[in-house]
């Protein structure tokens, strides 16, 4: 099976690389039709036209677009993502600082989404055909109408302001000095052997991760519910029922195993969206991750950052899809025998 997994990853990589190339080219072209001049923006306001023109040449903005793209691509492949116009720092180090924060947040949110999604899906299926089931179904439509950032704001108001229970800005209380080992705060605090700091970091993640997880759990619930519905009519379920197997056992041992596959496919897509959802949640919670970096960059028209961050998002989404495909292979015995 390991050979098969490696084969799958190799195939997916072959697809992912051209996609990333097209994505980078797209981003490049879109950002070059920009009404602002990045050269002028990186100069002090009293710079003369000649000075700006020199800067343009220095930044390579006077060359034809395909050439600019080729230069940028070559540098990116060497790991040089350029220098931020606004922060005047290497973009690669800015991303290295913020990406772990976002991955950490997204991972916890995914966990919450998966747990809530499965629990909710089973509940919705269990209540099928009853009035309470109809109400729960309606409830899930209502839940779905509140996007992640509304949950985020609601949680801030409820558990941060009205009933101050949890912190809602940043990753760590300012009284702590942030340890830097891996960039993943949860790991770093454990490496330092500081349970108090670990708890504080976790507390800072509870509200944003729950807001995200809650919003993305609803589609998971609904797909799990409908695939359970479909499987409920299958012969082997009827057989099990005739043999007198209890409903709970049928659900957990027979139905869930098969219903999990379409749910997993959806979760792959959802997790890609969820990773994008961190962007706004980070802004709302002043959480120093990729999303805040991106929004700041958009406000400052900081092209090198926007390009690199957009590419980073796309790369992570493709990676998530790859992992989900691998999981699919592991969990679906029908794909394994081939």
């Amino acid at each position: 099976m390991i050979v098969q997994l490696l084969g799958l990853f190799a195939r997916r990589l072959l697809v992912a690389i051209p996609i990333l190339l097209v994505v980078s080219a797209l981003v490049f072209v879109v950002l070059r039709v920009l009404p602002v001049d990045p050269a002028a923006m990186s100069m002090p306001p009293n710079a003369t036209k000649a000075e700006i023109e020199m800067k343009r040449q220095e930044m390579g903005l006077d060359r034809p677009l395909p050439e600019q793209y080729a230069i940028w691509l070559g540098q990116t492949l060497k790991g040089d993502l350029g220098t931020s116009i606004h922060f005047r720092r290497a973009v690669s180090s800015l991303i290295a600082e913020t990406l772990p924060a976002t991955i950490e947040l997204a991972a916890l949110a995914m966990l919450i989404a998966a747990v809530l999604g499965f629990a909710g899906g089973l509940l919705l299926f269990h209540l099928r055909g009853t009035l309470r089931g109809e109400a729960a179904d309606l409830g899930s439509t209502v839940l779905m109408s509140a996007p992640d950032f509304l949950w985020g704001l609601m949680f801030i108001l409820a558990f941060g302001v009205v009933w101050p229970l949890l912190p809602f800005t940043g990753r760590l209380a300012s009284s702590f000095a942030r340890p830097v080992h891996t960039g993943f705060l949860i790991l770093d605090t454990l490496i330092e052997g500081r349970p108090d700091m670990f708890l504080d970091a976790l507390k800072h993640m509870v509200l944003p991760a729950t807001a995200l997880g809650l919003a993305f759990s609803v589609p998971i619930m609904r797909v799990l519910r409908s695939s359970l519905y479909e499987i409920d009519h299958a012969d082997y379920i009827r057989q099990a029922r005739l043999r007198g197997v209890s409903e709970g056992r049928i659900l957990l041992r027979h139905a869930l195993k098969n219903a999990i596959l379409p749910t997993l496919t959806l979760m792959g897509v959802q997790f890609g969206f969820l990773f994008g959802g961190t962007l706004l949640i980070e802004v709302i919670y002043s959480y120093p991750g990729l999303g805040n970096l991106m929004v700041d960059a958009v406000r400052n028209a900081d092209l090198p950052i926007i390009q690199a961050v957009a590419l980073a998002y796309a790369a992570v989404v493709l990676l998530i899809n790859m992992i989900v495909d691998g999981l699919y292979l592991v969990l679906n015995p029908r794909l394994r025998t081939a």
């Binding site: 209502v142 890609g272 969206f273 796309a314």
Partner: protein, 290 residues
């Protein structure tokens, strides 16, 4: 046929969704249409003496400002009503645009298959590798702030939602005997697509359109929240949320009200879409009769 469905469905709670959805959307649309007549104040008029008033029914409220005022003394109710204009404009324009592009490509891909399908499929793959918010921010950087840019950005991001789902539906429909019959009788591709296939995919298309309107409302709120939509002084719900975040401790109402407006609007579109799917989808109807 439509009438028979309606009679049968009216008894169900399911069509209740459509009714409630239409009612909610109707309220928001009328707010948007009649904002100049309904709004008690100019939404942009500042009054620095009466800032952060609570709603009229709570202590310290002023009946002249029914839902209170924001940090610049602007009337919240009037701003909400004018915000509905922005939201509805974007919802209708962006979702029709996305539908036009997405469903055209979906029908071409599903009907002709082969290279056309491959090309459109790869384009969708590229688009799907972007989180929608990130792509719309990149587009907004290129297009510049403003409501028409918001609409264009949503169209350019969300056409894939229509394309992916509808393509599968077209694939199924294309294999039906009546489509083959139409071709044999000598219908052109265009006529087969518009007269034979489109009617079959229409229910799904309408459902998706309704859901997309809700998504467009959310995206507009997100973009105006980060300051990329309308001007800072104009009323948009996302803008109101961004303003209210600055005065979180003084007035929670300023935050809750625009959030409620977004929620109710999106709920209306989702209920409508969900209800339509349940009443229009022939396969779901069959499943229920079993």
């Amino acid at each position: 046929m439509g009438k028979r469905f309606l009679k049968k469905e009216l008894a169900f709670l399911r069509s209740g969704r459509v009714i409630v959805g239409v009612a909610l959307v109707g309220i928001v649309v009328s707010c948007a249409l009649f904002a100049p007549f309904l709004a008690p104040h100019d939404p942009e008029e500042q009054n620095l003496i009466t800032t952060l008033l609570p709603p009229a029914w709570s202590a310290g409220g002023d009946p002249a400002y029914l839902l209170g005022t924001d940090s610049l003394g602007r009337d919240v109710l009037s701003r909400l009503l004018y915000g509905a204009r922005v939201a509805m404009t974007v919802a209708v324009a962006a979702s029709f645009g996305a539908m036009l592009i997405g469903s055209t490509l979906a029908h071409l891909a599903g009907y002709f298959g082969g290279k056309v399908d491959w090309l459109i499929g790869r384009a969708v793959d590229v688009w799907m590798s972007f989180p929608p918010v990130v792509l719309s921010l990149v587009l907004m950087t290129g297009l510049g702030a403003g409501i028409s840019s918001v609409i264009l950005a949503i169209v350019l991001v969300d056409w894939t939602r229509f394309c992916r789902v509808l393509r599968a539906e077209v694939l199924v429909t294309r294999r039906q005997d009546y489509v083959a019959a139409a071709r044999l009788v000598g219908f052109s591709h265009w006529r087969t697509l518009t007269r034979e296939i489109l009617p079959a995919t229409m229910p799904l298309l309408i459902t998706l359109l309704s859901i997309e309107m809700g998504i467009a409302v959310i995206v507009e709120a997100i973009l105006s929240f980060v300051g990329m939509s309308v001007g800072a002084n104009q009323s948009a719900w996302g803008q109101m949320i961004a303003d209210a975040r600055q005065t979180l401790y003084e007035s929670g109402w300023n935050l809750v009200l625009p959030m409620l407006a977004i929620f109710v609007t999106v709920l209306g579109f989702n209920l409508l879409g969900d209800g339509l799917r349940r009443t229009l989808d022939p396969r779901l109807l069959q499943a229920r009769e079993l």
